[in-house]
């Protein structure tokens, strides 16, 4: 099993995507199918951006096993008030400043759910959010 750990800097928008990029490179090197890499990269990038936009950063753990890839995104942000609403396409609490950058379209969590094979959200208001995503290699 390959394990990777990343700390996501919440203040630096310019670095968002770095972790996804490194994971993608590693998955390519070990010969994971391009379609699986694509799904993982899209979902992980959305998670990474969410951490920067909403939670002032966080930590990401990635575990790669022969049959599956597990990505755990953990932050100590404000938590998600209404998960059902957050899962609706088009719903977003992002600021106008963030929207001007092309984010905040309310596609983050929906995309993460769409492109992962399994997703679990554990959130506590005022304490933080942990999202676990699993991608099957076959």
């Amino acid at each position: 099993m390959i394990e990777l750990h990343f700390d996501v800097d919440g203040n630096d928008f310019t670095l968002a995507g770095e972790c996804s990029s490194k994971v993608k490179k590693m998955l390519t090197q070990i010969g994971i199918a391009p379609a699986v890499i694509r799904k993982t990269a899209i979902a992980m990038y959305e998670g990474e951006i969410n951490m920067v936009i909403h939670a002032n950063g966080g930590k990401i753990d990635v575990m790669v096993e022969p049959e599956k890839i597990t990505v755990i995104l953990k932050d100590t942000g404000p938590g998600i008030k209404d998960i059902k609403k957050a899962m609706e396409e088009g719903f977003s609490t992002a600021t106008n400043q963030v929207r001007e950058l092309g984010f905040g379209a309310g596609m983050g969590l929906p995309n993460m759910e769409k492109y992962s094979d399994e997703m679990e959200i554990d959130t506590v208001l005022g304490e933080g959010t942990t999202v676990k995503m699993v991608f099957y290699c076959n």
Binding site: S20, S21, Y45, I49, L101, G102, F103, M107, G108, Y115
Partner: protein
Amino acid sequence: MIVKDLLGNGFRLICGDEQREIRGCYIGDLLSLAMSRIQKDNAWITIQSNINIVAVASLMEAGCIIICDGFSPDDGVIQRADIQEVTILRTELSAYEVAKILSKYEI
């Protein structure tokens, strides 16, 4: 087609590889949508010019980014694109005009 085919026709290469192949095209400015729609080797036409376009193009292996309508990339975009090996062009043309030109190459 390759990036070089566009140069001189109102397109300017800002950074990257003029020999980069382009296949297909995606037009859009919402990064989340672009992220899930851009296919490998696509030309991505957008007015977004902030540094995050580099990450999206790199992750999706876009053929190039075409920043249209006369927008210019923000500071730091070119340096990041050089590191990530992302090719960027800019043009005064609109997204529609760019797409019309691309369609002549039947990509």
